[in-house]
Symmetry: C2
Subunit: 415 residues, 2 copies
């Protein structure tokens, strides 16, 4: 039956009945219709306790009230992940683009409903000062450009959400946190995994002690990269090779999972000889970290092996496997432990959420509330210090001591 064939009178009656117990239908129960309380639509539980609860309603903020972002840089990550993710945001919206490619920027602006006059070139960034709907920027530029654009955005009073790695040197990272502090704007590094539901569930499981103490971590992040030239193969632009680009996910995960800072690290680099891609940056690194509690972590990252992003956590009384841990999607969380007389393997079905949308909404909430983000600049500074220590270890062929950060590196947990 095509839509225009629907008996209109029946539809109208049904709608009325559902709303107010109109003719022909009984009035809905509060369990069915829900209610509005404190500006939020709410439904009471309708399922039995045997089933897991279905969770809270999304409660998106009306579009006009959301934190407006300018996206700076229209490379793959901006166009493949960040801009599409705004459709799943509830606290943020894209309102301006800054790009070095005018034609690409105009098309992307049209695609994402951004007005043409809010499309700027890199040199025009400061004109965002006059656009009050832009409260924050999302920096999705090559690593070497993070510092400059963070400082310029801070200088015009815009809050900064910056892609990882934060920058290419400790000096640059520190300059960024100082610039944002001076300007009184929030700075967050886009450590998306820390906002990803499976990783949040793993952290909760570790802190809750369900499987006993966490003892060991194995983390890998590998992919097979194509031929150059690509900015990823430039030491000047990328700061390094596989480590800052994808190995950083392993490094960062060992820290937020343990809740500790490593005290010693050892790294081995391998570069295939004669491959021009790896004349400046490393193809592969295996590294080991030791934490104060005794946790040991074995990590592996490479641009030269088939994509593989696995996280494995070894506890006293169980293990957790997280296949696709660092992928954009497809995370899983499998718990292995003893149940009665047998070894059990149990997948915990965690509701997937777009991790880019999660991190953008988190930052928008922090900007609105004047709150420190969960992954502020300090988190990026510490990772940069650790990466520099790992490079030193690889260069010197010996383990290196790692210094604790001067203070906490993370703000309050995301909701």
């Amino acid at each position: 039956m095509a839509e225009h064939d629907l008996p209109r009178r029946g539809l109208v009656l049904a709608a009325a009945a559902l709303g107010a117990g109109g003719a022909g239908y009984p009035p809905p129960s509060p369990i069915d219709s829900g209610s509005v309380e404190g500006g939020r639509i709410q439904f009471p539980d309708w399922r039995a306790p045997a089933d897991p609860p279905s969770g809270a309603l999304p409660q998106p903020r009306p579009p006009g009230e959301r934190i407006g972002f300018a996206i700076i840089g229209l490379g793959r990550i901006a166009l493949e992940e960040v801009l599409p993710a705004f459709a799943e945001c509830k606290e943020a919206r894209p309102v301006a683009l800054v790009s070095g490619s005018p034609e690409k920027a105009r098309l992307a602006a049209a695609q994402y409903g951004i007005p043409a006059e809010a499309v700027l070139g890199y040199a025009e960034l400061e004109r965002l000062r006059d656009r009050p709907e832009v409260q924050a920027v999302y920096i999705a530029l090559p690593n070497a450009m993070h510092r400059e654009f963070t400082e310029r955005a801070a200088a015009i009073g815009k809050h900064v959400l910056c892609e990882k790695p934060m920058a290419n040197s400790l000096a640059d990272c520190r300059a960024m946190t100082e610039a944002c502090a001076r300007a009184g704007v929030r700075l967050m590094v886009a450590y998306r995994s820390q906002y990803q539901p499976h990783h949040r569930a793993a952290i909760a499981l570790i802190r809750g002690g369900e499987l006993g103490r966490l003892r060991f971590i194995e983390a890998s992040n590998t992919q097979a990269n194509g031929p150059g030239p690509q900015w990823r193969y430039s030491k000047q632009m990328a700061g390094g090779g596989a480590l800052p680009d994808i190995g950083l996910y392993c490094l960062n995960a060992t820290r937020y999972l343990t809740g500790e800072e490593p005290v010693e690290g050892f790294a081995t680099i391998h570069n295939p000889s004669g491959d021009p891609r790896y004349a400046e940056v490393e193809e592969s690194m295996a590294f080991q970290l030791r934490f104060p509690s005794g946790v040991l972590a074995n990590c592996l990252t490479s641009y030269g092996a088939y994509q593989n992003r696995m996280l494995r956590l070894h506890f006293e009384r169980g293990s957790i496997e997280m296949p696709h841990a660092f992928d954009y999607q497809g995370q899983r969380l499998v718990v292995q432990r003893r149940v009665g007389q047998v070894a059990a393997e149990e997948e915990r079905i965690v509701k997937p959420k777009n991790q880019f949308a999660q991190e953008i909404d988190h930052f928008a909430g922090c900007v609105r509330a004047g709150r420190q983000p969960h992954t502020p600049g300090e988190e990026g500074v510490q990772d940069q210090a650790l990466m520099e220590a790992l490079y030193r270890s690889a260069a010197e062929g010996r383990p290196v001591r790692m210094e604790p950060p001067p203070g906490p590196t993370r703000g309050p947990d995301p909701a």
Copy 2:
């Protein structure tokens, strides 16, 4: 219908018909009946090429013609794995027991059909000289006793299949190979994984190049050990802790999978403070190995984390996951690679075989044919040298160079 109710005449006719085309049934085709060729029963393929072939028939050697083994030591591995495995052997049979526990030995002998007069105490081992049906011994004693019993068995002309680790020192390992060479008997170290079908399939896949070059290995072997006293917690009896007992599987696997010898290693030990079990031996070790081709291996072993025995191989164009890689059973082999436009995950169903039976039959075949085993004493000597290097690395807190063995460490591949 109970068995005694079967119409006897029908059964007899059916049997005759299947054998020779008797009354009532058509004669069988050669595809159905098979044939005897060269002393072996054979069936031609009956399935279409779309299905994998069902494989060759077992062809067990008549019991009286098999190589007879004396099992020395009746601890858990002998009674849980080795003696039961003989039921699945086709080339070997258990014909004597040597134990320090006469009551246990008498009962086990009865259970496995071994005559009471073939049950000896440790001090009586030399009486095996007078039992010609005993051609080989399977040494399943605590590590510290391997050297003495290998030398005593060799001295009375018995071939030696010795559990891993080979012994507790390089000097002991070398003395064992020399004793067996002097006596003209074969010596094999029971590296069961090298005879296990999934590991053989992984080796074949690596050598065949299906996924490109092997780049990295991650291997873990952890388990949660109970309270002492146990010989495993005695440095004198065990030689070490998790490394020689279970970490050795990871170490040995990196070597047979790559077909290379590591040139550098780095190890970190962790012992929980105040735990009397780890006063003499290590609880946990994380170690990294570098191979000449550039393969890097991250390995992890512990007595203090839930059982987990995973092997992951990273190739240029795919990965292999082998859950339960070092368990007694339950191995799997999962290949991950690109297929068309998608990432594929494909389990290769490898027919499981009892890996103890496989290794025992391999050694029996070598004894019969006068052939070098696939894992002779030299294989154990090299692993002992590498383990001593790893302990040195952990003690000195720095990577150590590893020396290549003086010659090949492995004999011809198992069938």
